[in-house]
């Protein structure tokens, strides 16, 4: 390889320096907007049956379907997706579905690359990164398909429809509605002299129960949560009556009195009452999940689907599930917990839109939901389908939908989560006081909101 001469190197560095100087003179950058508008739900008389889509030539159309894996039940493809899609293909012999699990760690990369290359999956499972693809023009609006097929949107949770609506258009079909619940270890409850069937209902009881469990031993804790778990840590302020944002997402309100009180309560669990497992421990392997699974923690909060993972990883764990204990705010905010929607989208570049829509419609039918989501342990985004009425833990995820608060599905939400996680972690590690952490957090989040507005 030819060596770079000194002159060439200096020229190269000079260009770099020049760029930096010019950059300093440039104007302020702008970021993309987050446009959400109330959905217009068309009133259709009946729930749409899965449409037929037999191509005139009789040939078999192959659809690609990508989804991030949910391992709670084990091998999703083998146990849940495969059998469900077999049923679909039996019902629609002219459509073949090639299902692929895309690891969460490279989810955005893989989709971005596929969209950029013009070869995206026909149908994809979308979560919070969804708005990015909508804004980039990669996702097909479903309004026309919905209207043509007579699909009855009323059967879907209205809030879930709002999540997938941008500029008045529906870009995906809500499918999963996941939410967090309180989980407790019944055995530790019993050992601590508590009724194993009765979880704490208020925050005062929560502290009281946690103290009793903590008294069981030096390595037993009343409560645990991951310090960077932005979902589980994100609701203390809401339970105390505060809100993260104003209605139009132009201002962060996390430095409010309610938020400071809520997060002070959280900090007290670590430092005043010392019932929470130190964040320095849960921040490393095996994490809050591992310690709870291994019977070292009395209570935690997780998405209800995690119950299936816990049961698989430790079949001896006696698990209880309930709504999150109520904070000072009125319900539903007083029991606020993480909630998220997973939706099914069709790529604009799909060559088989009609068949893809047939699949999407079919996947939200009660039978298909039972076959796939019932297998996983996820609640559905339909307001009339309850899959886990016989399961005391999973059913809480379904009946507690009103307590699930969704994060804004915007392009800046990942940046917001990173800021949120950093400051809440600082509180839990004892590196910052609650009020100063929330003040700094608010300022930084307001910066990104300002960028979003300027775009």
């Amino acid at each position: 390889m030819r060596a770079i001469s000194r002159r060439e190197l200096l020229r190269f560095v000079g260009i770099g320096m020049g760029a930096a100087v010019l950059a300093g003179c440039a104007g302020a950058p702008t970021a993309a907007p987050a446009a959400t508008e109330a959905p217009k739900v068309e009133e259709k008389p009946t729930e749409a049956p899965a449409a037929t889509a037999a191509p005139p030539s009789g040939e078999v159309v192959t659809l690609t379907f990508w989804k991030g894996p949910h391992k709670a039940a084990g091998d999703e493809t083998k146990l849940c997706a495969g059998p469900t899609l077999e049923k679909f293909m039996a019902q629609y012999p002219s459509i073949k579905v090639e299902f692929q699990e895309v690891p969460w760690s490279g989810y955005n990369e893989k989709f971005s690359a596929a969209f950029a290359a013009g070869q995206p999956p026909d149908v994809s499972y979308q979560t919070e990164s969804f708005p990015t693809f909508v804004k980039a023009g990669n996702i097909l609006p479903l309004d026309e398909l919905i209207a043509e097929s007579g699909f009855d949107l009323k059967v879907m949770l209205e809030r879930a429809i709002e999540i997938v609506t941008y500029d008045g258009k529906i870009y995906a079909m809500p499918w999963i509605e996941g939410g967090s619940i309180l989980m407790w270890n019944k055995e530790l409850f019993e050992k601590a002299g508590l009724d194993p069937e009765t979880p704490p209902d208020t925050m005062e009881q929560f502290v009281d129960y946690a103290l009793k469990i903590r008294a069981l031993g030096d390595d037993i804790y009343g409560y645990a949560v991951g310090p960077r778990d932005w979902h589980e840590n994100g609701y203390w302020g809401i339970r105390w009556g505060g809100q993260w944002f104003n209605k139009d997402y132009t201002q962060c309100l996390a430095d409010s009195k309610e938020f400071i009180e809520g997060y002070q309560f959280m900090a007290d669990l670590f430092f005043k009452h010392q019932v929470a497992m130190p964040a320095a421990i849960t921040g490393q392997e095996p994490g809050a999940y591992g310690y709870f699974r291994d019977g070292k923690v009395g209570m935690t909060t997780y998405q209800s689907i995690v119950a299936n993972s816990l049961r698989r990883d430790n079949p001896n764990l006696k698990l209880g599930g309930a709504f999150v204990p109520k904070g000072p705010a009125d319900e539903p905010a007083g029991r606020a917990a993480y909630g998220g929607v997973g939706a099914l989208a069709i790529a604009k570049a799909s060559k088989h839109v009609k068949e893809a829509w047939t699949l999407v419609q079919w996947l939200v039918t009660p039978d298909a939901l039972k076959s796939w989501l019932g297998c996983l342990g996820f609640a559905t985004a339909r307001s009339d389908v309850f899959l886990f009425q016989d399961d005391p833990v999973l059913s809480v995820g379904e009946t507690g939908r009103k307590f699930h608060f969704f994060w804004p599905y915007t392009e800046w939400v990942f940046k917001f989560w990173d800021i949120e996680a950093t400051y809440i972690e600082a509180i839990q590690l004892g590196q910052m006081k609650v009020d100063e952490a929330l003040k700094e957090l608010t300022a930084k989040v307001n910066d990104i909101l300002k960028e979003a507005q300027q775009a």
């Binding site: 993309a32 989709f111 310090p227 392997e285």
Partner: protein, 316 residues
Amino acid sequence: MDATARVEVAEAVRPSSRVARRRVSRTAVRRNVVAYLFLLPFFVLFVTFTAIPFVSALWLSLQKGLLAGPKTFVGFRNFAYLPHDTITRTVLLNTVKYVATIVPIAVFSALGLAFLITNRYVRGRDFFRAVVYFPILAAPAAAAQIWSYILAPRFGLLSYALSALGLGDIYFLSNPRLALLSIALIEWWRGIGFHVILFIASMIGIPQELKEAARIDGANAWQVATKVTIPLMRPVILFSVVMGTIWAFQLFDTVFVLTNGGPMNSTATIVWYIYNYAFRYSQLGLAAAMGVVLLCIIAPISYVQMRVLGREIEYA
């Protein structure tokens, strides 16, 4: 042949016309065509996987837009934004701290290990050479995962050993003051083999006569090492330092797997930041701009290193 005669010969053989020059040029090309053909695969790969992405990255740094969508030209706005971003300063500082820690430690310790392994009194030199080199063969993400269990509080191997010594739990990866140092320790373990093998190869290549001459002149082992061996290894040490610095600036895998930039951004590095902007925040222009900044940091540092360490060695 004196100078005048040389000039005359040169004048005589120099083609006097364009036609003649072209003829010489064609002949030269024909003579070298095989060499060019051998070089062609390299150039194709270089242009495809290095030159085009490099130019694309520079172009992207001047654009704004999502990863998979339309982009607009914004000039140097992305560069102007970087100083205002929430953690730009933190990632730059972390990366510089990391480089300043890992490079000298890696190079000096590798030198020490190389001397030990090549020592004629050491038995099983090949075994030690293999042991030192093995970690490089481990996939970075897999190695990081293994270390996450070694460093885990309470049940991790290292924590267990420290507890046995009465030191109690040390939160290697969740203490903001220790996390970057712990990452440096893991990266040292992973990368040390490269430096050691280079140094051993270089040491073996130094003529024994030079060392023996020094010994005859009364030099002890330390003096032979510092006055003869190390100065003669300077080009290899230079290569080691430059490559070590470049790799250190590119730290990503271990951070991504072990801490994801935490706790409290204490392990957030430039490449981690680039990844986040490109794939999590979907702001490709900003990611590319940060990549250009990284280039502007690495290039002058490497240049200075080459100037300082790459001077000609003269022996009296």
